[in-house]
Symmetry: D3
Subunit: 324 residues, 6 copies
């Protein structure tokens, strides 16, 4: 049958469609051209999009993030040659589409996300989120804590996102981790914020989260260095706690990730973030997100390509992934 259907799941194993069966630019794009499921039932890991950007303060566009990440993910093949990870040999993975949410009402959207993730988490699947602006992490953490209790956090970002409010809004992309802390969603001493930099509204912007017990690592502390050591340290400190990984693409320098909403100069490099992720292998990860990809500022698609690869690398360190 010469017409190939790639985003359907009927009669397919849960493997990405190969470029030798259907050209990489062909087919209806799901994440890595995995089967599409109606929900997370029966899955070990569920890729899910949260397309929104009404929580962003500068450049919009992250609403198109899931779409472009899926498109660019067609380039990724199933085996990680450098680490030996073979995620699809051990985990049942699928793309479960996007959360339906209001573009016009940020609060309603936050509520819809929490409900949707409650349903996903109830199946036991690990949600692998494609944002959307960083606001999405707050309702995800609420649903996560509701199921797992407070969690450790690895938060890779240019910004600490611990404002009390922005232009009167208490729930938007710059307030996520203060809210999460206040609501008891996090194990504060097991929170790591990596890649922070830039300018702030007061000289003491970082003092308060440090006072809560958060571990803040600024980008300048990391310049010119491998992050393998830091990653191993974090892994050791977090230990057996359940952990959530929130990855803002603006943690990377704009040279690597130009297509984002609030770029900051002097960021991490791609080798650094790959080292960091790979060193976290062994943690009890219960959810991951990759946020703030803004396609209108990334016509080549390379930022989304990077995001897709980082999601794949995060998949590779989930519990249960075999290594060859």
């Amino acid at each position: 049958m010469p017409v190939v259907l790639d985003a359907q799941g009927r009669g397919m194993t849960h493997q990405p469609v190969s470029g030798n069966d259907l050209a990489r630019f062909a087919g209806i794009p799901s994440f890595m051209r995995l089967p599409v499921h109606a929900d997370a039932e029966g899955l070990d890991a569920a890729f899910v999009g949260v397309p929104m950007d009404h929580g962003t303060s500068w450049r919009p566009g992250a609403r198109f993030g899931p779409q472009q990440i899926r498109t660019q993910s067609a380039m990724i093949r199933p085996y990680a040659l450098q680490t030996g990870a073979a995620p699809f040999d051990g985990l049942t993975c699928a793309d479960i589409g996007d959360v339906a949410l209001s573009t016009f009402d940020l609060r309603a959207a936050i509520g819809a996300i929490e409900t949707a993730y409650g349903a996903i988490l109830s199946t036991g699947a690990v949600p692998m989120t494609m944002g959307g602006d960083h606001t999405v992490t707050l309702p995800i953490l609420r649903a996560t804590a509701a199921r797992h209790g407070p969690v450790a956090l690895v938060h890779v970002d240019a910004h600490a996102d611990v404002n009390d409010e922005m232009f009167g809004a208490r729930e938007c992309h710059g307030t996520v981790f203060r809210r999460a802390y206040e609501e008891g969603l996090l194990i504060a001493p097991k929170v790591w914020q990596v890649g922070l930099r830039g300018t702030g509204y007061s000289a003491g912007d970082f003092d308060e989260p440090r006072g809560w017990g958060f571990n803040l690592v600024t980008a300048p502390e990391l310049w010119h260095k491998s992050l393998t050591g830091l990653g191993e340290h974090i892994r050791a400190q977090i230990g057996a706690a359940k952990v959530y990984v929130s990855f803002d693409i603006d943690s990377l320098d704009p040279a690597f990730a130009p297509g984002t909403g609030t770029p900051e100069i002097g960021g991490l490099t791609v080798p650094q973030v790959l080292e960091l992720i790979r060193a976290l292998r062994g943690l009890q990860i219960v959810g991951c997100d990759l946020v703030e990809v803004a396609p209108p500022y990334d016509p080549s698609g390379n930022t989304a390509l990077l995001a897709a690869n980082l999601l794949f690398e995060l998949l590779c360190i989930l519990p249960g992934v075999p290594y060859r």
Copy 2:
């Protein structure tokens, strides 16, 4: 259930997903967010992509055409307000994905397309093709003639595509309609080529197809004019014959369709091609294609938006579409 799955078909009626159920930028994109089927069985009209560009002589990129047309088609709502057409109230439509074909071997690809369309046509569905470069029309016409016998043709294009060969190739985007004529796939006096213009390899480039009986209408003959009259004339001349509609996006002026492989100045306007299509209502159309959208030259997506709308307009004139 807040996670909505838009490209699946299970439990959905065959209607486009509404923007009020799932934001237009959300979900895994099928054409107009219609259900995705594994094949054309049971369908009245089947949207199908043929992603390739190894038949093009200037700017490549049409391999990404189906992908971008699907993405932009999310903007289209189900009712044509100006004409009253309600295609989804009368026809069962779905997206059946892309033809699997070799990127490296143009001849093999042409063969694969003919086989795929044989299967589609055997179901009785009308194929609505998203190209790809114009080469795709040749194997589609072969499969069409195999099922329906020679057909009338409405061919809207800047170029007549009647070269004998290009750089030694006898089957590529510039030779399609000479091959089709030679192979007896067309009812020559019922062939209409509309929008021709530009420069040629000899002063008599247009004489030979006219000698075969083809009706050639150049763009300068149409400047400043409504095409309603021409469309009505073509409809009358073709009458009850089965007809194939092949639409090259470069028939339009590059101002309207910048993202294409071989743009020519002085082309048709969007009102003109809409008038032409709408005037063809009533013909026994057995297949349509929209080709040569090259996304790398169309970062805004507006060329693909136009292409998606033209495919929708073509759908609206298929036999059996109710008008309100």
Copy 3:
């Protein structure tokens, strides 16, 4: 003094800064490089930006509209050569900056806009608005009706914007004129909606506003025609009533205005909209807006250049403008 300050107003007449005094690409850009005022006090016409896009359903970016319109407006010189209009010889004009509003809360933003326009209108100045998505027109109409009573409306747009709600939102860019009608802000028989086209959620999308008394003119009715006649008819029908002009840049075909949030094919041409505006001269215009310019989809800036010129043309038909 060689350092020139162009956006300040102290010691300057209220004329645009000339390109012979300061290069057009120099200086801090206000609209047409007019003086910047803190409020509308003492002005005949006040240019004001409303930078937001959380009311848009497809491509965001209109939040950067006022910024890019101001930048491109530096190309416009003070005299309209084709009509003889000399607006700055008769009216005192200035740029009063942007409305401060929340990016995160659409309802709060709508409230802030209404308050801001109440203040502007209380000075007697005519507000000339740079959007922003089309949502901005609703609070402006509320403030306008509060001051002037119900007004006639010339609404140039691809979309009628008369939905009852979009994804649960009753106040967003697609519901403006239904809300305005329901709230009694408009003189319904003196409402003209020009340029409508595209697809809809039901075959009867246009029937209901026609039932209210609105006059709807679709784009296909206007293809290939001068709009001078239509403009003169509208002017005659509206007569002495106070009138608001709301201009959505997507009324124009995407060939002319690619940088917008919800482009629709088959739109008006620039000559047509210029004819329409010029024919409206003589009406008692109490406010104008130009909305939906989305700079991320307009890297050349030409959409904003068009928008700036249309605002200038609207300025030229305000009461009190001398003609030479």
Copy 4:
């Protein structure tokens, strides 16, 4: 010999290299892939670039105009199918490269251009100029008048370019035709300026050139109309006088020609300018230029493609071109 050399001339006839001998994207680009000559000796028509933009007041970039026009001209085939013109069957044409001039000193550049064109014109060849900003026309007219005496002029442009000075400069892209008039280079009653529009520094900007005898035709006078009649009228009025054709790409609407330095809305369409050029056939043309293509604002290359085609159309109306 499989390595083909396309820009050399040794052993080649003076025909464009065919796309069937060398792919259109291959080879070292001369205009239409004509032979490259060291000077104009022996040529009937000489294509020559004048790459500069220090005479422009808004967006620079025209310095890259000749390069991009040459690249895009590879798409043009040797016969004009609509008119039957076969220029290379009657005229010996070549590309003679670019004028060497200072990027840093506008006056020196103007002098260098005049000298260069003196040499070209001394051979009897008709110079076909690729600009560069419009300043280049002034020294070309000086050299032209030195050889031929005052000439008639067909000037197609958005702007009359008759300022007395711009920011103190008396020789730049906005003063060309005042200087040419003052210096007696033109036969004033046989000067036609077509496509004028936009805004001006005084209400009477157009009165003065009309006083000199110039014939000014604004774009609004031409909207919705064929220009064949205007072209025939100009041809009749100019009669047997020697004539220079200066074509500013900004005469066209920005929808057709976005990549230019000072775009103005409401311009001519491509059909209109093609009609105008074709109607001028029969005039004693002694030189042509196509100026103000600014590639940085035209990433698709479509503006340069249009410019290349217009130069070809101008070539087709030179004296001595056979028609088939």
Copy 5:
């Protein structure tokens, strides 16, 4: 009063407008949304633009540099979190607009700049310049030496800019520091040129400035290294001398700064230049510039964002800035 005016200065403290008072994309952009002053009177540091590019030899566009740097600077908040610098708590800063200069006459422009900077420097303010091509530094150094006598120089650049002339021009972007040396504007042994690389017109291009006493540090010497040590060495060597800092954005690798006129591969990284700047704290800086940002080659704006941040970092090391 809901309409906020951000670029005016009346009644505002000299602090950047906060994103919590006016959205970052709103308002009329001055540098970091500081107050706009008519001149430098009373200021400690004056941000000033010099928009020109007629001194550039390859890609133009730097004339739009000040405009885009201002726009992107809206992202910067007032406190430098990594260093503790709080410049606005210690210095009175404002944006004083752009120098008015001729686009058509490079020599006249150079004269105008010198005059303008004489006026600025006479107030005692430190000028913080936004270029413009690198030519601007020559007249600024002339005005600086006229006030302060010969100065030390930290010049960060891909190119030494010590040509004797370029295409006959003795004053353009490639000759600045030879002219400055010849005119005695610099303390030669206290001149540091950092980041040099690329190709040259002779093998000994760097020998001559070394002979004058200049200290040249090529980029390859710095690859893979922190620049903190180099910065401290330069600070020690310059000691108490007055120093000017000239920063060409092309010192950075094109990966970080694609939008520039003469990019060179193999450049510095952002961490390196931040280390260098921060290590210079304590020097007696009397002026700074940031030049060669070419927006047409930087559609994302990220090059200008980098430039704005570097200017902010330079502000942070001016004498008198408090650290928290």
Copy 6:
């Protein structure tokens, strides 16, 4: 004679045209503005383009690679300031244009390339190839082995390109080095593949080439390191054997080389590849290529600028180049 002809060779020494004789953006572009020859006769090094992309599996566009590399190479001056190399003082170099090949038939194109390179190599010139997709290297290696016998190989790439077939094709951009190994074109133990990374179709993708004796060095092994040591090691291991250098631009991280067909994250940096190339000086290089530059994904041209510089650096290490 003010009209300068830069791409001709008659009467010119074989030096690049200087920017002081003809502006860098002027003239008909050959590589580094060297003379254009009809063939390689008499040359030491011949720059030649192979414009094609029908061997690529993801983004097309490399067919425009030679054109854009030539254009950007105009920035390079003749002396390498950091190494002292003076290639044009020792070698006779020219640009011999592009190979004529079919765009429609990959196999025929591969044959045409082999024939063309047989002719080039028969002259004794070292071919310096501008791709085109990586498929071009296979026929070049065939012609090279035919003349020189099996060669050592330095292959810098993100991908090993050792697939057995791709979608049925045994000769395309992903199978080159398996075919070359099977055909005995290479000295397997002297093959070095540097920069490998990304994902694969099986966990053992790299095992098989290692079994053949190839030396594979992955990118992660090289992160944060100078490549000088690796380069010296390769030089020592290859010793006196004849060697071919094949450089895929995607070996570099997409931050440095966004414009390529199959980008992979985590790649080499520009300093690293410059160190690698410079350390190879002294090898008996018999051919070099630089492939996979895809201009449609590189609107700034910076990827091609990098490619042109890498070709120049490769030229600098050819046998016979003097150093100053």
